[in-house]
């Protein structure tokens, strides 16, 4: 073993440095990945659904294993675990309740009470100056708990009915002393993130575009936004997109007037560009995310138009929607221009994230080849990243379209579009052939690896990651599939990822004081957190879920960024949708 020897000088400054880091941010290490997670546990623990409580207790166990769990959470869990064992409080979880279950439960309750009082009191009590009872009274711990603790330590264990009562009091007290105040102390309200982001953005733009803006304040708002962006990318991006959509008509107008008159307007396009550039210099891949967001919205718009009036290809049905799609396309074009006119730093960013940009180009191709504005922006983008393949395709389509010029360029000319459809059908057939091959592969139970991980497994177990961008410890760097960087860590017992959903709305409404009669039976199926399997599964997949068996020939596909288990029948039934997916993959 030959690591370099390292000698590090430890003067007193280094010690102070280490200490001050923690204090300067006034923060602590916590075992949860987000306050959302904490809140879900809070709601589940105090709900009346045994499944929810069970899941929350499992999560608290996990927190315990990380070693930095706040003691009051542990104490809450102790009480709930004692209650869970107690046959008095509902279904008995011990398969064959031993005769001594009462004794076991008495011990559990007693220990929980002793821990509660000690944990709260011991920290701050001036050693031996005051008695524990006096110190405990300061925290308004119910007198009963203090007495029980004393009895447990010095005499014998109290009776079970008393302990049950004490447990209920203790849980109430814990809720009022820790859980509710902590929830109220969260500065960014859980779930109410959106309003805060919106207000932050508006304030920032206001300050930027007024002459006398306080530099410091807008700086701090910017920092906040970037923090939010890191934690909650999709929310911030969507909020920013909304804001831009509002101003885009005036931006286009002003831009034209600017060019004519040469005067720079106050809320000019240039000003907005600088703002976006500033934010994206601190928030990685902002432009990329914005472009993807806009495309998403165009897609939804188009699909809703199709669904609404698929047999009406006239312009009558459009009205308001046309305006919106117009706005979106204009915003897209504006963003591409911003990208083009970006600084050196941007262009290097483009070099790095070429993959996602190609993905965007593909989407434009699939989306609306007859939408001139989109296609033009796409061509501009392709020119920037030098993607000639795309430019060829566009020219092909445009030649098809222009052979039959129509009044509205949104409606595809029906005669020439038949060629388009034939071509599309051909590619679909090819894709479904490839898919059936894929299905055959699945039958052999071979797991489908993406290109990246293949090379990693070939060279042995450990290897250096091929690329990385700076991101906080515990999060993943952004990539083309997952724009949000907080990792999804839920998995089943075999270690395969699943999408976990905590059904909090229902739990919230049912959170009430726990007592033996208020506990519901666990037969209710849509309560509590479940490990959800693919929602768009066909009936076959649902059967798989219920029966719990592995269907022969079932394999794993990435759908919408998540590995989901699909059966052969599912593939056949949804061949079109899946063909589209394969097109994207290929």
């Amino acid at each position: 073993m030959a690591l370099e020897e390292e000698e590090a000088v430890v003067p007193s400054t280094a010690a102070a440095d280490a200490a001050s880091i923690g204090q300067s941010y006034n923060s602590r290490i916590v075992p949860w990945l987000s306050w959302d997670e904490w809140d879900h546990v809070r709601v589940s623990l105090f709900s009346s659904y045994p499944d929810a409580i069970e899941a929350a207790l499992t999560r608290v166990l996990t927190w315990r294993s990380r070693g930095c769990i706040p003691p009051l959470i542990e104490v809450t869990a102790d009480f709930l675990m004692a209650q869970r064992m107690d046959p008095f409080f509902g279904k008995n979880h011990l398969p064959d309740a031993p005769h001594s279950v009462d004794q076991i439960v008495t011990n559990l309750y007693s220990m929980a009470v002793v821990r509660l009082v000690n944990v709260v009191v011991e920290k701050k009590r001036k050693h031996k100056l005051t008695s524990i009872a006096e110190a405990a009274a300061e925290y308004s711990i119910p007198r009963m708990l203090i007495d029980i603790r004393h009895e447990c330590s010095h005499r014998k264990l109290p009776a079970l009915p008393l302990l049950r009562d004490a447990a209920l009091q203790a849980l109430d007290w814990l809720r009022s002393y820790y859980w509710d105040p902590q929830k109220n102390a969260l500065s960014s309200p859980v779930g109410g993130m959106r309003e805060k982001i919106d207000s932050d953005l508006r304030e920032l733009t206001l300050r930027r575009f007024t002459v006398s803006g306080h530099r410091k304040k807008s700086r701090s708002i910017m920092n906040e936004l970037v923090l939010q962006y890191n934690l909650n990318t999709s929310e911030v991006v969507s909020s920013l997109a909304d804001l831009l959509l509002e101003v885009i008509p005036s931006l286009i107008e002003n831009h034209q007037q600017e060019c004519e008159s040469g005067v720079i307007w106050k809320d000019s396009s240039a000003g907005w560009r600088t703002l976006i550039n500033q934010i994206s210099s601190m928030a990685q891949n902002l432009l990329l995310n914005l472009l993807t967001e806009v495309l998403d919205r165009v897609e939804t718009q188009e699909s809703s138009i199709f669904e609404a009036g698929s047999d009406q290809w006239s312009s009558l049905g459009y009205g308001g929607e046309a305006g919106e799609t117009d706005n979106l396309c204009s915003l897209f074009a504006w963003l591409i221009d911003t990208l083009k006119s970006g600084t050196e730093a941007h262009l290097s960013e483009i070099g790095m994230s070429r993959g996602p940009l190609i993905l965007i180009l593909r989407r434009i191709l699939m989306l609306a080849p007859w939408n001139k504005q989109l296609m033009d922006s796409g061509v501009k983008l392709a020119e920037v990243i030098k993607e000639n393949f795309f430019i060829d395709k566009v020219q092909k389509f445009q030649s098809l379209v222009s052979s039959n010029v129509d009044a509205s360029d949104r409606i595809p000319p029906i005669e020439s579009s038949s060629a388009l459809f034939i071509e599309q059908e051909e590619s679909m057939r090819e894709a479904s052939q490839k898919l059936s091959l894929f299905g055959l592969n699945c039958e052999d139970n071979k797991l489908v690896y993406s290109e990246d991980s293949k090379s990693a497994t070939i060279s042995g177990k450990w290897s250096i990651a091929k690329s990385w961008s700076s991101c906080p410890i515990g999060m993943l760097p952004p990539d083309s599939i997952n724009l949000s960087r907080v990792p999804k860590l839920s998995c089943d017992a075999e270690g395969r990822p699943v999408t976990e959903e905590w059904n909090c709305k229902e739990l919230n409404s049912c959170a009430c004081k726990r007592g033996p009669e208020s506990l519901k039976d666990s037969t209710e199926e849509d309560s509590g957190p479940r490990k959800k399997r693919p929602r768009k599964g066909s009936k076959e997949t649902r059967d798989v879920e219920e029966v719990g068996l592995e269907v022969e020939g079932a394999g794993w596909l990435i759908i919408n960024g998540a590995w989901e288990q699909v059966s052969q029948d599912y593939i056949c039934a949804n061949s079109e949708k899946v063909a589209e997916l394969v097109l994207n993959l290929l």
């Binding site: 690591l3 941010y25 820790y178 250096i464 410890i473 990792p487 999804k488």
Partner: protein, 379 residues
């Protein structure tokens, strides 16, 4: 380690420089140069917390290196480790003296085990297993010589012990004293008899002590409040952990401030390993298999090698930080200073309760979600 307090019976401690008392240097010299035909010394240093055990051990190390070419150092104090990050029991071979006793030295151990906690209280049995394994390795492998004529390679051993000498810590210490065949035992005494170890050779009942017992006084009056001691200990652990992971960044970069180091680590290209080819095990509690990744993300792990010979304890090549988990690609991303050729053998990640330094989670612009700002101070 330096204290402004003065003590009349020994030399003063000046700020920034530790001076060894006469009693201490006499003890060290007598161990090293004691009698000419005595076998190589095997010394165990014990005493209460903050009594100067590590300082004395380092001093003894330097003195022994005047006579011997190499000295083995068995570090069993996992809360205040000497040459390794905390939570690790290690056997190091030292061949260079370290004249400045205040500098932190990180060395690569000859052999080490990751215990996953800063005190042996969680699992004294496993702790002792690791200690015995390390001592056995020293005795059987390192002391063997190539030619059969000379019986032993000259490699003296210093055993450093934890300062926790009450309760089960005391029993662990007694077992260690009875297992290792020692030539000398150095017992440090504090100024408070109640905190000390019992007088005499407390570890053998029937007076069968074959080793020389040296009792020396602690230099500093360690009568500080236990809470402050705890905080100081935690701070030192954090400093050592930071020094360990500083080795990940190639030397020569300007990393004077910890904030710069934190940012550098956030941007460092990590190692990746497929989840399917690695096992994960928590050393002290049971984590449900569906929650493994919640427990593992952004935590300090020991990089272990499993073997059939010892299924309970795993040899360790170093520590790592699991800096990200990608379930869709099936990859774990780990930051570690251990070189790749040693990592090839690692097939198990050992979780424990060793905390990641808070500074790493608070790199500017890269604040980890595990570092929260709204935590109420009441808990």
């Amino acid at each position: 380690m330096a204290s402004p307090e003065e003590n009349p019976s020994s030399s003063k401690i000046a700020r920034g420089k530790i001076r060894i008392s006469e009693e201490w240097s006499k003890a060290a010299v007598s161990i090293t140069f004691g009698s000419q035909d005595s076998p190589q010394p095997t010394v165990l240093v014990c005493g209460p917390k903050n009594s100067g055990k590590s300082t004395f051990s380092r001093h003894l190390l330097n003195v022994l290196l005047q006579k011997y070419k190499k000295v083995a150092f068995l570090d069993t104090d996992i809360g205040q480790t000497e040459f390794t990050p905390p939570g690790v029991l290690s056997l190091c071979i030292i061949d260079k003296p370290t004249p400045d006793l205040e500098i932190i030295c990180m060395k690569t151990p000859e052999r080490c085990y990751f215990f996953g906690d800063v005190s042996s209280s969680r699992d004294p049995g496993k702790y002792l297993q690791c200690v015995y394994a390390l001592y056995d390795y020293y005795r059987d492998e390192l002391c063997k010589s190539e030619n059969s004529k000379s019986s032993m390679v000259e490699l003296p051993l210093i055993v450093n012990t934890p300062g926790w000498i009450k309760g089960s810590g005391y029993e662990v210490l007694v077992k260690m004293l009875n297992y290792v065949s020692l030539t000398h035992v150095v017992k440090l005494r504090s100024y408070n008899d109640s905190k000390d170890l019992p007088r005499g050779a407390f570890w053998c009942d029937n007076g069968c002590n074959h080793s020389t017992l040296l009792e020396i006084k602690a230099v500093i009056d360690c009568a500080t409040c236990p809470l402050t001691l705890q905080k100081i200990a935690a701070l030192f652990r954090e400093i050592k952990m930071i020094a360990y992971f500083r080795q990940c960044i190639p030397s020569g970069s300007n990393l004077n401030r910890n904030k710069v180091l934190a940012r550098a680590l956030a941007a460092l290209l990590p190692y990746e390993v497929p989840i399917s080819s690695i096992k994960v095990r928590h050393l002290h509690c049971q984590v449900p298999s569906s929650e493994v990744f919640y427990s593992l993300n952004a935590s300090i792990v020991g990089l272990g090698i499993s073997s059939e010979k010892s299924p309970d304890i795993h040899l360790c090549v170093g520590l790592g930080i699991v800096r990200g988990i990608d379930l869709f690609k099936g990859l774990l991303y780990v930051i570690t200073p251990v070189p790749l050729r040693l990592l090839e053998k690692v097939d198990i990640l050992l979780q424990g309760f060793i905390q990641i330094p808070q500074g790493f989670l608070q790199a500017q612009g890269c604040v980890s979600p595990y570092s929260a700002t709204d935590v109420l101070p009441i808990c």
